[in-house]
Symmetry: C2
Subunit: 305 residues, 2 copies
């Protein structure tokens, strides 16, 4: 048996790792690509997994895209994927509202977020407002201050990453949340959002303005929380003993694997660093780590397929 | 001697209270007015104080207005005031940057906020950008994600209430704050902003999105922190033993009075309620409280001037 925190660094390690698992769950950004740039030998590695009969599942906290858009994004990198192999935090939120909350059909969700959330709510037949509505992408007017009021038709506020977030949306969501019966949901509480190899404020940063102003804490649905795994397991059957989660962040991906009782592999191409996991006070540790996902492909170079 | 938490409720109480102090420091919204509506007998009470030779000082956490604009607002309610009797959190921030930080003339402050902050920075000769710039009131573009970078000319991010807050401003401030040398200042950390008798998200709610995304805590300059009182005392001489702060919020106004070692009067026309101060677990208590500021005017009705 390998001890905890094994660094995979040669062909033997890679082979042993690949042989240990049947199902490979992948975070995307920072693991497969940086923004629009695919990381080295990612496609080859995924091909290798398929050739070896492994199952691949994509799991992302990015709520700006629906599963359908994510499929397109994967395909733009020539990574074939089926919609039901893709799990996003917007999808997890929609499924949670539909199946757990049994959200009433006469009520609406006020969306602070992008098209991905709207598309997943539509797919589950949940009514919504806000989101990409151009009327909500305007500055707050003097009249808004006067006319703002609670709206009993709003049963939930669902917050995700919103590149059009503004004071008007903040005020609307704040006002609706004054009603303690209005649910407060968050697709994911990532503090940052990776794009173009840089960091920007994430969905958790947007929702923190609502948390601070209302004094309420949202239910967060993406990684590292178990709702996301409930959602995957409700849809796909796989042996958790033979599954591994591959991600670049200790506090979302690796913690998610731990919360879900599956093994984990950290790649060093994203947010978390080798220094963090080797630090004396490291709290969340993966089972394995590797410089980059493409290193696994070396087993193919050596003719070990 | 009155014990702590004396409710002023008759002419004798009012007279004894007025006789005890020379300087009356007033919070404005929730004490003198609600939005554009003056509270009953406010003007008469302020006139009475002047007739009795009392000094009046206005102290507001609202950074959207400069002292000049606040003077106009007071005058619109026929309350005469001099600019140097008015202290706002935007002014406190500008004075702090000028006198305490000695902000370098070759650097700029990135403003997340309204005209009030810009006017006070201008008055102290401090260069700034962001704020009311129409270019910052736009949605984030795909190009922004690519071109965003730190800017060594930005020496501080100063955040206040911003009715035009958006993801673009959040990203800019976040990016500048990645440089640990860039100061992070906040006019006031109020969670809510009162307007039209309602509550909206306040400056502290806006800054909390930066606090969460950057992991940095801003230096807050308005009430309840001592910087605001330092600012008042640097400008006006008065006997603190004979001064009383009058406000409607326990966590800002009354705590400010305590932090400044002056007596306090809570009015029940704003945020904090009688139930809160009478609760067994009440942590911040005023010395006195009264239903509304206009009640003090009753001493005049009885011919006691």
């Amino acid at each position: 048996m390998w001890t905890k925190l094994k660094k995979l660094q040669n062909v033997d390690d890679y082979n042993k790792f690949l042989d240990s698992f049947e199902t490979f769950l992948f975070d995307c950004d920072g693991v497969l690509w940086h923004g629009n740039t695919l990381l080295p030998r990612t496609r080859e590695t995924l091909d290798l997994l398929k050739k070896r009969g492994k199952r691949i599942i994509f799991v992302t906290n990015n709520s700006s895209k629906s599963r359908k858009s994510y499929k397109k994004k994967l395909e733009s990198h020539e990574i074939p994927a089926e919609e039901d192999e893709i799990f996003g935090s917007a999808y997890a939120a929609a499924v949670y509202l539909k199946q757990v909350v049994k959200f009433p059909s006469e009520q609406k969700v006020y969306v602070v977020g992008e098209e991905g959330i709207e598309a997943e709510l539509d797919a589950e037949g949940i009514a919504h407002c806000g989101g990409t509505d151009p009327n909500d992408r305007q500055p707050m007017t003097a009249e808004d201050f006067e006319t703002f009021d609670q709206d009993p038709s709003i049963g939930a506020v669902l917050c995700g990453i919103d590149f059009h977030f503004n004071y008007l949306k903040l005020c609307k969501a704040f006002t609706y949340l004054q009603n303690s019966k209005t649910l407060f949901l968050l697709t994911n509480d990532d503090s940052t959002y990776p794009s173009h190899g840089k960091k920007f404020p994430g969905a958790g940063s947007i929702s923190s303005s609502l948390t601070f102003s209302t004094g309420r804490t949202p239910k967060s649905l993406g990684k590292p929380y178990s709702t996301m795994m409930d959602c995957i397991e409700a849809k796909l059957k796989f042996d958790k003993e033979k599954a591994v989660f591959i991600g670049d962040r200790l506090d979302t991906d690796i913690l998610f694997a731990k919360n879900s009782n599956i093994k984990s592999l950290l790649v060093l191409t994203g947010v978390s660093t080798e220094r963090e996991i080797l630090a004396d006070d490291a709290k969340i540790l993966p089972d394995f780590y590797i410089n980059q996902i493409g290193d696994l492909y070396q087993v193919d170079d050596k003719g070990n397929v």
